[in-house]
C-alpha cells in the first residue's frame, strides 16, 4: 500500500508521486503519515517535509500551507516549496546569516514579525540541506 502524494504551490505542481511514508511539520509538531491513516486536515508550518521513496528519504522545505490526508491520498498546498537537492548550501547559509542580522536590527512590531518569518524560512532551507547530507 502506498500513499499518493501531491504537493502544490501557486505557481506549479511541485510533486506528484507515490510514496511509502511522509513526515510533516505542523503547527503542533511533526506528524508521521503511514498508509491507511485516518482522514485529517491540518495546517502546515514553515518546516521540512520528509518523504520515503523506495527506501530513500528526500527532504523538502515547505513555507506554510495546508495538508489534507484521506484514503491514502495526501494533498499538500503550500505558499512555496523547495527540494533539498535544489538548495545551494552556501546561499542558504548566507541567507540565514542575513536573516539573523535583520532580526537583530528590526524595529517595531511589523519588522520584527517579518524578520522572524524570514529567519524561519532561511533556517528551514538550511535544515533541508543538512538532513540529506
Amino acid at each position: 500500500m502506498t500513499l499518493n502524494l501531491c504537493v502544490l504551490t501557486p505557481n506549479r505542481i511541485f510533486w506528484d508521486s507515490k510514496v511509502k511514508e511522509i513526515i510533516l511539520s505542523t503547527n503542533s509538531g511533526q506528524i508521521g503519515i503511514l498508509p491507511n491513516h485516518a482522514p485529517i486536515a491540518t495546517a502546515v508550518d514553515i518546516g521540512i517535509l520528509r518523504i520515503c521513496l523506495n527506501d530513500q528519504w528526500l527532504t523538502m522545505a515547505l513555507i506554510g500551507g495546508f495538508a489534507r490526508i484521506g484514503n491514502n491520498e495526501i494533498t499538500i498546498l503550500v505558499n512555496d516549496a523547495e527540494k533539498g537537492s535544489d538548495i545551494d548550501p552556501q546561499e542558504a547559509q548566507q541567507a540565514l546569516e542575513i536573516a539573523e542580522a535583520n532580526l537583530r536590527k528590526a524595529e517595531g512590531k511589523r519588522q520584527t514579525i517579518e524578520a522572524n518569518l524570514a529567519l524561519r524560512r532561511a533556517r528551514t532551507r538550511v535544515e533541508a540541506i543538512n538532513v540529506i547530507s
Partner: protein, 327 residues
C-alpha cells in the same frame, strides 16, 4: 467659377465620407449616391480625399495587426502560469465543496475585469453577471445585501454608474507588474480585512481556449457558513469526518483554510481573466484588421474609378476644345 463649384463639391463629399460607419459601406446605394450627386461637378470626389482615407485605413490595419501580435505573445506567457495554477484550487473544492446555492445574508461579489479596452465583450459579460447576482440575491429577501469589490478599470466604469452605493473596494492597475501569488494574496488579505462577508462570489472569465471564454462564478464561503452546511449534511457532510489538527481549535484552522482558499481562488481567477483578456483582444484585433483590409479594397476600387473618371473628363475637355478650334 468651375473651380469654385468643384471645390464646393469636394467639401460636400468630404463631409459625406468621414462619419460613414463601416457597415454602411457594404450597401450598394453608397456608390451610386456618390456618383449621382452634383449635376455641376464632373469630378465627383477628388482623388486626394480618397488617397488620404486609404492611408489612414492602412495605418489602422498596421496598428491592429501589431496589437494582435503583442496580445498573442502575452497570452503565451500567461497561459502556462494559468494552467499551473489550476491544480491549486481543486483540492479546496474537493474538501469544502463549491456551493453557489448557499443561502447567505451577506454576499460579496468580486468582479474581475481588465484595465485596458479593445478586448471584445468579456468585461460587459462579467458586469452583466455581477449585476444579475446582485438582483438574484436582493430578490430573495430584504435582509440580504450584496456588495461589490471591483478589480479593473472597465468594470469600475460600468458599475459606478448605477450601483455606486454598493461598491466596497475598487482596485486597479493589477497588471503593472507580472502577476504573482504574493501580490494576489496581499490583495485578498485587504479584501478580507475590509469587507464583512458570508459568501464571496468571484466573477471572472475562464479561459477555455483561444476563442472561447466562459464567464464563471467561484464561491468561497466563510467558516461559519461552512460549519453550518457541514452540520446539515449534504455535500460538506464528510468534512466532519476529517480530524483537524495543527492549531488550537478547529475554528481557527477553518478560518485560515478559508482565507487560503480565497487567495488561491483569486489567484487562479485573476490569471484566467488575464488570459481571456489577451485572447479576446487577439480576436478583436484580428477581425478589426480584416475589416480594415476589406475597406482598403473597396477604397482602392473607388480611387481607381475616380482617377479614370478624371482622366476621361480631361480628355473630353481637350478633344472638345480642339474640335471647337477646328470646326
Amino acid at each position: 467659377m468651375a473651380m469654385a463649384a468643384l471645390r464646393r463639391e469636394g467639401r460636400r463629399f468630404a463631409s459625406l465620407i468621414s462619419p460613414r460607419p463601416i457597415t454602411a459601406v457594404r450597401s450598394s446605394p453608397l456608390y451610386p449616391t456618390l456618383e449621382d450627386e452634383g449635376p455641376l461637378g464632373l469630378r465627383h470626389i477628388s482623388t486626394q480625399v480618397v488617397r488620404n482615407r486609404m492611408k489612414s485605413v492602412k495605418n489602422i490595419q498596421k496598428i491592429t495587426k501589431a496589437m494582435k501580435m503583442v496580445a498573442a505573445s502575452k497570452l503565451r506567457a500567461i497561459q502556462t502560469k494559468t494552467e499551473n495554477s489550476r491544480g491549486l484550487w481543486q483540492p479546496f473544492t474537493a474538501l469544502l465543496g463549491d456551493l453557489p446555492s448557499a443561502d447567505v445574508k451577506k454576499n460579496v461579489v468580486v468582479t474581475i475585469s481588465s484595465d485596458k479596452g479593445l478586448c471584445g465583450g468579456i468585461n460587459s459579460t462579467s458586469v452583466k453577471i455581477s449585476k444579475g447576482l446582485h438582483k438574484l440575491n436582493s430578490a430573495t429577501g430584504p435582509e440580504k445585501e450584496t456588495k461589490y469589490v471591483i478589480l479593473g478599470e472597465k468594470a469600475k466604469a460600468q458599475l459606478v454608474r448605477d450601483s455606486k452605493k454598493d461598491i466596497e473596494l475598487i482596485i486597479t492597475e493589477l497588471q503593472k507588474n507580472p502577476l504573482n501569488y504574493t501580490q494576489v494574496s496581499v490583495l485578498a488579505d485587504e479584501i478580507l480585512k475590509n469587507v464583512e462577508y458570508d459568501a464571496l462570489r468571484i466573477v471572472f472569465n475562464k479561459f477555455q481556449s483561444v476563442v472561447s471564454f466562459v464567464p464563471t462564478v467561484s464561491t468561497v464561503l466563510s467558516p461559519e457558513i461552512v460549519e453550518r452546511e457541514a452540520e446539515s449534511g449534504g455535500k460538506l457532510g464528510d468534512l466532519d469526518s476529517y480530524e483537524v489538527e495543527g492549531g488550537e481549535t478547529k475554528g481557527e484552522i477553518l478560518q485560515n483554510l478559508a482565507e487560503f482558499q480565497f487567495s488561491c481562488t483569486m489567484f487562479n481567477a485573476v490569471l484566467e481573466n488575464a488570459c481571456s483578456e489577451q485572447g479576446a483582444r487577439m480576436s478583436a484585433m484580428d477581425s478589426s484588421s480584416r475589416n480594415a483590409g476589406d475597406m482598403l479594397d473597396r477604397l482602392t476600387l473607388t480611387y481607381n474609378r475616380t482617377r479614370q473618371a478624371s482622366i476621361t473628363t480631361e480628355l473630353i475637355e481637350i478633344i472638345s476644345g480642339a474640335s471647337a478650334l477646328e470646326g
